[in-house]
């Protein structure tokens, strides 16, 4: 009896306290609704609110849809078929994520806008002038959607890829024995089974689109995010800005709840006794070429073209490379992103597992709340992190002065701790959703079997789930790492003195419209992202390789669901 008590408290404690801390910024935002700002809302409603809502929704759905289509298709081909170049494409497909959206926006604008080389050439060639011809306007809502979808589809791709490759071969055999072609199997079985993963990726892309500031701002599209900044900094009304953020978050919350509700009865683990991985199918040469081109397109547009443009710009400033400050920039970025990735994946594993163990509202609520942080613009979250931390620091300082006559100053805020905390809040959604969608594919009897053999609940996590979740955990690590690498708003505001990152550097130069100077750090973000990709690529690949009888390290390819 006492055992049960302590266990219960253990998981509650392990989850509740960090989850509440992580949820705090989101709660700070939501707390704003208690200070009604009637007058300003009236103004917003009469003027710009409709625009904000429509644009934000279009932006998020457009981006989400695009990411879904690109990510799912590429993931399917990469996980199911063997074709020339698959091994390389498989991780190249992740790279566009490393491009800050506003940077890719700058590069495309540079090429495609009215003053850019393409249109200038057209005008010169056909002696047209402004208004004589139609050309798609890159700096438009449609343009933002395309830019965002080019850099955000990797969320869907990564999650779907591990979902597809972990699907049990026996299910595809079952549908084939019932006469389904591979395509029909994809639509009727593989896709619905990967649904949690795919929709999670899509939700991440949508949340990021909701929270995007740089691109919409540059393209002159008014969304909730630009509205929040305008209201906060321009109108100087912080509560109203937070209320806008709360409204935005509510949209996301409703979407997420609907999705969960619609599949509440479904489970995604395979009931079978055996875990046979599906072997990748081989293709004819012609088809290989087709698939290669198909999977290459997102890389071409999301990575190669913009990176070449950046490369051209950067070539002019290559001396910067030899600046020692530049090395510290690389190191800061890399180490911070690595820490953030590890911390947020550990948190995600703990939270997701606690939810699996005890599906109580007590645990679900704070965890879910914390995971909403992703939909809130980074600056708002950063302030939400800073306010409670500084409050805590100041109170510790006061107490210490009262009791011991010493001043402690700022212990947490303004330290790397604050930054890591902010990253955790911001990226918990990414890691948690990846891990959860993987966990849903492990059947509960695995846990039960281990526990009946005397493994404690935490041993189940380390000895059973972790190895089985390898694909999902690697995915989460990579996604958070890359995301953290280009994280800007929280870094900007929370970092300690004299601490710079590549993203900050890129942003400062780009915001001063010095694109050529911004190109090198921007490109470096991509290059640094390559490091973990290369380190983890082996793990990713064996992950989908149908294990062979001689392979000594078979992993969990088919706990599927």
């Amino acid at each position: 009896m006492s055992h049960r008590q302590t266990q219960f408290d253990f998981w509650r404690g392990v989850v509740l306290i960090p989850a509440l801390i992580l949820a705090l910024p989101v709660l700070v935002v939501f707390a704003s609704v208690f200070t009604p700002q009637v007058e300003i809302w009236q103004h917003l409603r009469q003027t710009v609110l409709t625009d904000y809502i429509i644009n934000s929704l279009l932006l998020a759905t457009g981006t989400g849809f695009g990411a879904l289509v690109i990510g799912t298709t590429t993931a399917w081909f990469v996980s199911q078929y063997d074709f020339f170049g698959r091994r390389v494409l498989q991780w190249l497909l992740l790279l566009p994520l490393a491009m800050p959206a506003y940077i890719i926006a700058y590069t495309y604008t540079g090429v495609l806008d009215f003053a850019g080389p393409v249109q200038s050439w057209l005008r010169a060639t056909f002696s047209w002038s402004y208004g004589d011809y139609w050309f798609p306007e890159i700096r438009s809502l449609g343009g933002v959607i395309i830019m965002l979808m080019l850099v955000l589809y990797p969320y869907v791709y990564m999650l779907a890829r591990s979902a597809f490759s972990e699907q049990s071969g026996s299910l595809s055999e079952a549908s084939r024995s019932l006469g389904l072609t591979t395509r029909q199997h994809f639509i009727r079985v593989a896709l619905p089974l990967a649904r949690p993963a795919i929709l999670t990726g899509t939700a991440l892309a949508m949340m990021e689109a909701f929270a995007d500031y740089g691109t919409v701002q540059y393209f002159g599209v008014s969304t909730f995010t630009t509205g929040i900044f305008r209201t906060w900094f321009g109108l100087g009304n912080q509560p109203a800005a937070a209320q806008l953020a709360a409204m935005l978050t509510s949209f996301v919350l409703i979407l997420l709840l609907l999705e969960h509700w619609s599949r509440r009865k479904i489970r995604y683990y395979h009931q079978g006794q055996r875990h046979r991985a599906a072997a990748r199918k081989s293709l004819t040469v012609a088809k290989q070429v087709g698939v290669f081109i198909l999977c290459g397109l997102p890389i071409l547009f999301g990575f190669i073209l913009p990176a070449s443009q950046l490369g051209l710009w950067a070539a002019e400033r290559y001396e910067m490379l030899f600046d020692p400050a530049y090395i510290s920039l690389l190191w800061n970025s890399f180490s911070l992103a690595a820490i953030a990735a590890v911390v947020s994946v550990i948190l995600a594993l703990t939270f997701a597992y606690a939810k699996r163990l005890r599906n109580s509202l007590f645990i679900r609520l704070p965890v879910q709340t914390a995971a909403l942080g992703y939909a809130i613009p980074g600056t708002v979250i950063a302030i939400g992190v800073m306010i409670p931390l500084a409050w805590l620091d100041n109170h510790i300082d006061l107490l210490a002065e009262d009791w011991f006559g010493i001043r402690t100053g700022l212990l947490f805020s303004g330290s790397l701790f604050a930054l890591v905390l902010a990253y955790s809040v911001r990226f918990l959604a990414v890691s948690l959703h990846s891990v959860e969608s993987g966990l849903a594919r492990i059947k509960p009897n695995m846990d039960h079997a281990a526990r009946s053999l005397g493994a404690s609940s935490s041993q189940v996590l380390t000895k059973i789930h972790l190895p089985l979740l390898r694909g999902s955990v690697l995915t989460a690590l990579l996604l958070v790492f890359v995301d953290a690498l280009k994280e800007l708003p929280a870094t900007l505001i929370l970092r300690p003195f004299n601490f710079n990152t590549l993203a900050v550097r890129t942003y400062e130069l780009a915001s001063d419209e010095r694109l050529a100077d911004a190109a090198l750090p921007a490109l470096s973000i991509v290059l640094v992202s390559l490091l973990p990709v290369i380190i983890l690529a082996r793990g990713l690949d064996t992950d989908i390789k149908a294990p062979d009888i001689k392979a000594p390290d078979i992993k969990a390819p088919d706990i599927k669901g």
């Binding site: 049960r4 006794q273 009897n445 005397g454 089985l468």
Partner: protein
């Protein structure tokens, strides 16, 4: 040692186990029989601690481990389980699966134990294989070995031999029974094979629809079923209508019988008499004959479905040398030792 008291278990609103009571002494082997979906696995899962009780309690070695209020974690119960779906760990080799529960053992001890258990289940050379490289029956044996390895105080076996061929099943059942007895492990087995239950269990529970119908020794269960369900479920048989005469004798179309035990039935009461296939002995020389309606070849025997002159159908198990055609009339004789009656 293991006692269930008024145990009820529900999935959401569905109560699938209702008021189940039974107890096993240390070292005793119990068995649950019952139709598919009657709640056998659910009971095992509750004992292992994977399902919570709606009401009632489960006591293990004098400790209440489950009740509506209280729930001790599975890993603290020392209850091993062979899962119906095996639940083997796909990321571990056969040997690692088996040694999984031997957390505290040394490397050499583990290897020794694994070798021993692989020998027992007849897979001596497959220690390095992974789960997707095994056949169904091999998987099942690995699951069995894994559950045996830590020598739990209580072992729950959910259809542990269902994927094995008869020979292997019987020899393995015998070996495992020996091990259980030797280590004084209390075991609860679920099986659909009644012969296996009879051979292995000290005591058997028959369940239906979430309720425990009878908890008794194999012999009692077969010969003194407590109700129609048990009579029907265990073994074969048909119920033939009859009437109670004076002195407790019973009259049916097949003749008049004297119950060995005193059935407290009123004279004139209408009853059903359970006639098992082995109560009807095929005897070519008997004057009573019946027509073969259906026959099933069962190796050593042929099971005949017979139609009596009076129209009633009964079954008869004859040695398979007596191969008669459908439609043929064959001689039968009644050899009714245990008269089982149910009031109509």
């Amino acid at each position: 040692m293991l006692a269930l008291q008024h145990v009820a278990i529900a999935y959401s609103a569905d109560t699938v186990v209702k008021d189940v009571n039974f107890a096993l002494m240390p070292g005793q082997i119990g068995c649950l029989l019952g139709p598919s979906g009657c709640g056998k696995t659910t009971i095992l899962r509750a004992i292992a601690g994977f399902e919570r009780l709606k009401s009632g309690s489960i006591v293990l070695q004098k400790t209440e481990v489950s009740s509506a209020q209280q729930h001790i974690n599975p890993e603290q119960r020392q209850v091993g389980m062979v899962f119906q779906d095996f639940a083997l760990f796909p990321h571990l080799s056969v040997a690692d699966n088996i040694s999984f529960g031997l957390a505290r053992a040394s490397k050499a001890e583990k290897a020794q134990k694994v070798r021993q258990l692989l020998q027992l289940v007849g897979l001596p050379n497959l220690g390095n294989r992974f789960m997707h490289q095994l056949s169904g029956g091999q998987l099942q044996r690995v699951a069995l070995a894994r559950a045996l390895a830590p020598e739990p105080k209580v072992l729950l076996l959910d259809e542990p031999f269902s994927s094995l061929d008869t020979d292997l099943r019987e020899s393995l059942a015998r070996d495992i029974r020996d091990i259980l007895k030797q280590l004084n492990i209390t075991a609860l087995l679920v099986t659909h094979d009644q012969h296996e239950a009879f051979a292995m269990a000290d005591i058997i529970g028959v369940m239906s629809d979430g309720e425990l119908q009878q908890w008794a020794t194999p012999y009692e269960l077969y010969h003194k079923p407590i109700n129609r369900f048990v009579a029907d479920f265990i073994g074969r048989g048909v119920l033939v209508p009859g009437t109670v005469l004076a002195e407790g004798k019973v009259e049916t179309n097949l003749g008049i019988f004297t119950p060995r035990y005193n059935n407290i039935m009123q004279q004139g009461a209408r009853v059903d008499v359970l006639i098992r296939p082995d109560d009807i002995v095929h005897d070519d020389s008997s004057p009573v004959t019946a027509a073969v309606v259906e026959k099933t070849f069962r190796g050593s025997h042929i099971l005949y479905q017979l139609k009596l002159k009076s129209g009633e159908q009964v079954q008869c198990l004859a040695l398979s040398h007596h191969n008669h055609a459908i439609g043929e009339d064959i001689g039968i004789r009644l050899d009714l030792d245990h008269l089982v009656l149910f009031p109509v």
